[in-house]
Symmetry: D2
């Protein structure tokens, strides 16, 4: 689906499943002169949880933007114990890009940014090396080289956080950033840090997954984009894809073939995040599309 | 999604898009004590057409089954110029299987039938050869060999139609049935005849698509399941899938590789049809899943 | 590739890589009036190992079938420390089918057998239940129900082995056979027992992989066919494939969707084994195709 | 496979199939102290044509580079009516990039170029618009805007050819270049112009394939890279890939989804061309990999 209407609101909702939820929500929007553009609903029957993404045109909606969340919670949400997020489609999220030396995901995201494919602002790039500074420079994006060692991690992460706050960052994309973020850092950005891991998780978490894939003799390799949580490579999976390999492919071949996979799987995750298509519930994502 | 509740109703709807449709439909169900199980909605913004599949639990629904269609049309459908179909999930559709000599799709569907994978009754198998009669016999399915030649087609199709009527057939599956059905026959079963074509349509319609694929040197081959319409291989596409081939693959290899594709693409289409997941609009299918 | 010539020999070779190997082998065949039909060669540069599959027409070959292995080893193999296997394309391998209650792979292989797709003989089917006896009966295949419990395993495996010997079995296919074979049993059939596991190994080995996949929230599920070794689900991988799933798919949906994958991935592995396309080296397969 | 050895030669050969060809070729290399690195051979049994790609280490080869082609033709090639091409792995091909306004393939190839993924030199970029000049400028690549209209085509193509000659261009990549090249131009670069078409050819040749795909209601869209020949979108196919779409996807969605496909399918084709993996025979490619 494409979002052609600029002045729309998106509600992402989950709550215990009960009869009447769909009517309650759609009625709230309709009675207040909102025109429903998209409605996607799903019930996890095993857990008894109701999920919905609903988007509506705000042009004739009688409730003011800043009052919608309050009205919805009072009139609908609280009755059904809903957890909800409200987004507006004309908001441009501010994204920070973290990168190390491997440039393929970094180039790919910046090319999409430059072409206008990604509906975000990228005010700042943070790296533990300065190899890619020239790329940031030519696009006029603020670049900070913040080297990380075993000793200075906490202190350097403080510097990173200051930059994120200064630039009003909404979410972070780790474009093959080769450092593990501390728990404290991760908790400051819940479901707002997207990582790309170069294996089909849960196979081959941690370092050197292509080497492990080669050793195990698998016939497919994969890439996984996920939200970062405290446990390494164990956060909610957003997107995965795979490609076939053969006995002829060396580790170097897998690295090469995997690059295209990583680029696309990361870009799709960023798109879903930006389009407010994602809900997380018990370490699983609901991806409305 | 799985249909675990047996006593449910499914409405498939399309109509000109307008504000208020979702509310009108969900309100009708909710007010009459139907519990909505699934709701999938889609707007074709280019054509301005609204599509919906909605399924609800009938166990407490206050309107009797045989009255639902009438009440819905009167109270909701007519106001929005809706075209709708009503189905009940406990209805077992009656399917006729047409086959020639190639057995792979035939065996595959019958194995699914025997395992209980397909929620249908197959009371009759019709073929223009008697090669596969023994398979029908051992499953106790009525088998009719009706040979077709250029001269006797009309007359033989009459015999086929009599069998279909006699067995109360709801829909027909052509499991590599190597005869073109006449326009008259096709029109008698609109959106109720499913064919499998061994190419990724619209590439290579008509006969010998694997030969044509080989000649053209394509790197992928495909299979397409579609509803049969008067124009050959031009009906609404239900499912498609492909597989990679290489210069090493001969026409015979493509035939072999394609068999697995044909089996799966046809079986998926049958499943969608049986589960009332399909709407056709202007020669395109809407596949709710 | 298709094997159209019936009177051909296949050599599968591996040895330490050195200059001159290709010439030595092809020269041996050519000088003795063998016409090379297929040659596929591969060097694992990391391990320094040379692999080859070579097939040649025997119709004018001057060395008698029963002498080829001896002549080859003496004149070529021993000089290069080759490990080689010799097969003849007109040999029909004898395959035993092991099954429990889940019938989809079982039906699929038997349908391929009945259609003549698999170039094997299946003289015997062994199960720990008698649910599928009627299917064996109607095809006239010997069926033995050998129930396994914790106590009687060794004794029952002896019965199985007797049957395998009696029927002159070359290799065994576990078509969702829900018992773990003992080490002793496995060692009696090295690289001659093919299993299908319903996950993309090494993710989700052991029992209930679809449940684990659901819990982890993966976006793809897979199937893996492999040779059985002493360590559970850790043998050399022959074939893998995957299919995309979404948050909408329940465990039951994954089970259903996975069935088609399991069928195809197992059938491809059987085909490779039968066509002598497989070499195993350090727990990895070389699949010549 | 990866090409780690820099000082190697590659022979691409096709000829009428006969016994003894493999031995003749490998013997020629081995006797002259060349170490065979890769050998891939294929027989098109329908046409009776033998194909081979063979690569060998030149470090001890006794025949000088500039003499290899002559010696090979005299001693081997002419006896078997071979058509052969000789390449050296340390030659860096010179590639011209043609582009219009759509930037995704253009950015993607340049990012690969900048990362060192493509083993080529790109001395010149030619466009019929100047929109992307700034991207060429920042990489220091010569950029020429040569506008094409109905009247000036011949004259403008002359300018293009002059630039190609001046820059010593070996092959041309059309990265969504929206102009049809004249027959004369195409004939000047046989099997040296690579195009990306945004459909799975032969479906939807010509303009606006995503619109046609939407109209036809296909469930997969594709991209095809091919050598350009006189007939539009009918040249030998090098690579194809597809992605699933649904009824929810508008033409704009297909355009967006297709971009990633186009990028990858074009990049793979360029890689194959650069690695001398491609042979063309009767409008079909043999892709050695």
């Amino acid at each position: 689906m494409t979002n052609s209407i600029k002045n729309s609101a998106v509600l992402l909702i989950h709550c215990p499943d009960k009869p009447g939820i769909v009517v309650a929500i759609t009625d709230f929007i309709h009675k207040n002169d909102g025109n429903i553009l998209y409605l996607d609903q799903h019930v996890d029957t095993e857990r008894g949880v109701f999920f919905m993404r609903i988007e509506w045109d705000l042009s004739k909606f009688v409730i003011q933007r800043e009052k919608i969340a309050e009205y919805f919670d009072t009139l609908v949400g609280s009755r059904y114990q809903m957890t909800s997020q409200l987004h507006f489609s004309d908001t441009k999220l501010r994204m920070a890009l973290f990168v190390s030396k491997l440039p393929h995901c970094f180039y790919d995201l910046l090319a999409r940014y430059e072409c206008g494919e990604l509906n975000v602002e990228i005010p700042v790039i943070i790296s533990n090396h300065d190899d890619l500074k020239h790329v940031a420079d030519r696009l006029g994006i603020d670049f900070h080289c913040i080297e990380i060692s075993g000793e200075n991690k906490q202190q350097q992460e403080e510097k990173q956080k200051e930059l994120l706050v200064k630039h009003g960052i909404d979410f972070i994309v780790l474009a093959r950033y080769m450092q593990v973020l501390s728990d404290g850092f991760v908790k400051a950005y819940p479901q707002r840090i997207i990582n790309i891991h170069h294996s089909f998780l849960p196979a081959f978490p941690g370092g050197r997954p292509y080497h492990s894939a080669f050793e195990r003799g698998v016939k497919i390799i994969g890439a996984t984009s996920h939200y970062v949580t405290a446990e390494l490579d164990a956060g909610p999976i957003i997107e995965q894809d795979v490609v076939h390999v053969s006995h002829k492919d060396t580790v170097d071949d897998m690295v090469r073939i995997g690059r295209d996979l990583e680029k696309i799987v990361l870009a799709r995750a960023v798109r879903h995040h930006v389009h407010n298509d994602l809900l997380v519930y018990e370490n699983r994502t609901v991806v409305f599309e």
